[in-house]
Amino acid sequence: MTLTEQHHPETSLRPTPWQVAVQLAKVESRRILLHPATLIAFAVAVYAMWALHNVEAPVLNRVSASSVLPVLIFAAGLLIATSEASMRVWKTDQSEALDVAPTPPRVRTIGLLLAALAPVLVAVAFQGAAVMVMTLDQPVTAIDLWDVLAGPVLAAWAVILGVAVGRWVPTRFTGPLTVVAMVSVLVILDMYFLRRRFGVLPRWFGPFVPLDWEPVEISFRPTREHLIYLLGLVGVFAVVALLRGPSGRRTVLYGALVASLVVVGIGVQGQRAAYALFDRATVLASYMPPQADYICARIGGVEYCALPGYERWIEEWAANVGPVLDIAPQDAWPESRQVKQYPTRLMDQGQSFELTYEPGVATGLWWSRGPGGVRQADAHKFGMSLGTAGLAVGLSSERIAGVWTEVRTGDGEGEYYLEFVPVDEVAPGVEDEISYYRYCDTMHQGRAVVALWLAGSVSDSHRQYLDNRIEGMNEWLDNGQYYPWYLWEFKIQEVYYARQLLDRPQPQVRSLVSEHWATLTDPATTTAQAVRLLGMDLLPGHEEWTELDLEHYSEGAVRCR
């Protein structure tokens, strides 16, 4: 025992600043977690996590990023709570209060910064539990650890930003305003005027980068570099918070600020370098035939080819293709019985026309999960059955190009209109004039009814899906509106006839379809003729709709061959 301690025994009981900071952190972390903003944000985050992931089969490389979004909502609540906690020390606006306070502002700030640990642990538990649940549901691909780690880092980022803004601008509006400013930054970085000039790179300077429309495989996602960037920002905010108020270690703080800024710079430069190296065409080609390293399996006479990591879905695909071929006559879909996966979103519904598909059913990197029949995401299962049924009845999957064509009018002025022609008939030299692609038209072809009936016959959930999609759309019957499913666009009238067939006993319809298969699958057979062959009555107004369609919608349509 030293002389000093003998004279002043109480000094040996005085806690060190770090001990005070840890005790403060315990108190503040409890306050932050129980703040109304945190609790409301957490409830919304739980709902968002459920809503985002309950309809699709888990694709772990997407889950890695999409599970961060609910954490962002939680982080927004944390930011409000922390900024409020941070300003408590200042709210009297009297410096004397600080001077006589038993703990200096720097220690209080350190306590608040340490309090970030509790929300980070909550974020880890929340995101980890969600990801764990999804890994139990037959997931495909693999977790991107860098992407997943962005969740907890984002929670820390928000807490420490909250401390910094609360220290420097101690008002109760600071937290909410910072949250909206943070969301505004996210929105601005994704805006068209920036994308047009800098591409997708600016998005990566925000705290969170949502998934793009395209699959992760062909998207630019420098997740490791972005995590470095976020960690650098965490350091910057922490130092900025500590710089407020008196402190005897300014040099150390400035050194830490420089070090943090260097880390931010490394992250920025890493993202820029990754973007410079990113060549979407090359990446895309590596996921397309012939370069793609497909994993194939033959089930029931059909070859299923999945991209690496997705082979688990093959059995589920077969469950939606096999029944169609079981119901259809033996000679249906005689050639290229193949189901192949492509780096696109949803059964090629109008999005990835730059992709060239091989003959057969094309499927994408999304898949629905669950009992089915009632949700939008069930389009995947129904779409695969409909794709199979469409090929079984002989619908071609050729692409139609919309080409801008100039026509001279009587007064010599040029007018442009879109002309639709099969891609292989586009005149050489006008490829650049192609505005967009679509697929051939099943309008008033009897085989469209048969294809829809085949797809709807696969299971009760397929039937339910068909019913749900056209529920409340009676008015569309007479306005020529197409209804897109899979590659082709079906007229709603054909769907109504298919539903009538589905209401009848399947063996009876199957027998009729087999008997008239050649006629029903003939492109020249109209819907009206098919309806009579299948023993149904024409819906009231059928002739008028047909006339209207031919008058108004036949110009842009290229009938399926």
């Binding site: 944000a41 409000i80 109760r172 505004s184 929105v187 805006m191």
Partner: protein, 243 residues
């Protein structure tokens, strides 16, 4: 005390700083919107973020550090709040006007988006001028709904004698705003020009505005305020007493 006599002291006590700082962000977002292509839908997000910020600013209008003194002065609560609401709405209106003026550059500002015409064009007739409407009326409705909702929550959450309801109102507003974007389309209060739910979204907004206005009026009526709060928020009185 008469309403006119209250104006000056109450306006001076009203926390307008949140609205002023929100207004700056709203103006910035209006300018950002003007950088987008000349299409109203591509400018919706920044304008809406500006409106949300203004509503958050409005949530603090009833914060009153001196409420302990004001309750014993001979002035009605509804009169004091009326002055605060009018002052706040004037400030919000000014910033919203500025943001919309900035955001509408290059577009046709219209109060209501015209219904699409189904009539065909006769041969030889001139084609109608293309309309690219910027729906001013819808933005004003959204701003009024959000601000009134925030004030309604603030009026419910305020405790007599210690009125600092801004914190709770902000939390509730942000939470409800987030959830509203996840609602099914037919009852979602947000829509874009030409979308199927454009009209139904306006109906939802009007309904929320009406209910919020009603709650605001009820909970700003002093005698009723206490009685109703006992039903809705049973612990409010005991909390206030403990403080």
């Amino acid at each position: 005390m008469s309403l006119t006599g209250l104006v000056r002291p109450v306006v001076r006590a009203t926390p307008l700083t949140p609205i002023l700082s929100a207004g700056v962000l709203a103006l910035v977002m209006g300018w950002v919107a003007s950088l987008q292509p000349e299409d109203a839908n591509s400018r919706m997000s920044p304008i809406r973020l500006g409106i949300l910020t203004l509503a958050l600013g409005a949530a603090f209008l009833f914060d009153d550090a001196a409420s302990g003194l004001a309750t014993v002065t001979p002035s009605k609560l509804w009169k004091r709040r009326l002055v605060r609401v009018v002052a706040g709405y004037i400030a919000i209106g000014a910033f919203l006007t500025g943001a919309l003026l900035l955001g509408s550059s290059g577009l046709d500002p219209v109060w209501a988006v015209p219904e699409p015409e189904s009539s065909s064009i006769e041969a030889g007739e001139d084609l109608p001028e293309p309309v690219n409407p910027f729906p001013i009326g819808r933005f004003v409705l959204e701003a009024a709904t959000l601000a009134t909702f925030a004030l309604a929550v603030a009026s419910v959450a305020s405790v007599p004698g210690q009125e600092q309801p801004g914190k709770a109102a902000v939390s509730v507003l942000l939470g409800v705003y987030l959830i509203s974007w996840m609602l099914p389309v037919p009852i979602r209060p947000w829509s874009n020009v030409g979308w199927e739910n454009w009209t139904s979204a306006a109906d939802v907004l009007l309904a929320v505005l009406g209910v919020s206005g009603l709650l605001l009026a009820i909970f700003s009526w002093e005698a009723r305020q206490r009685r109703l709060r006992t039903l809705i928020w049973p612990f409010a009185r005991s909390k206030a007493a403990n403080r």
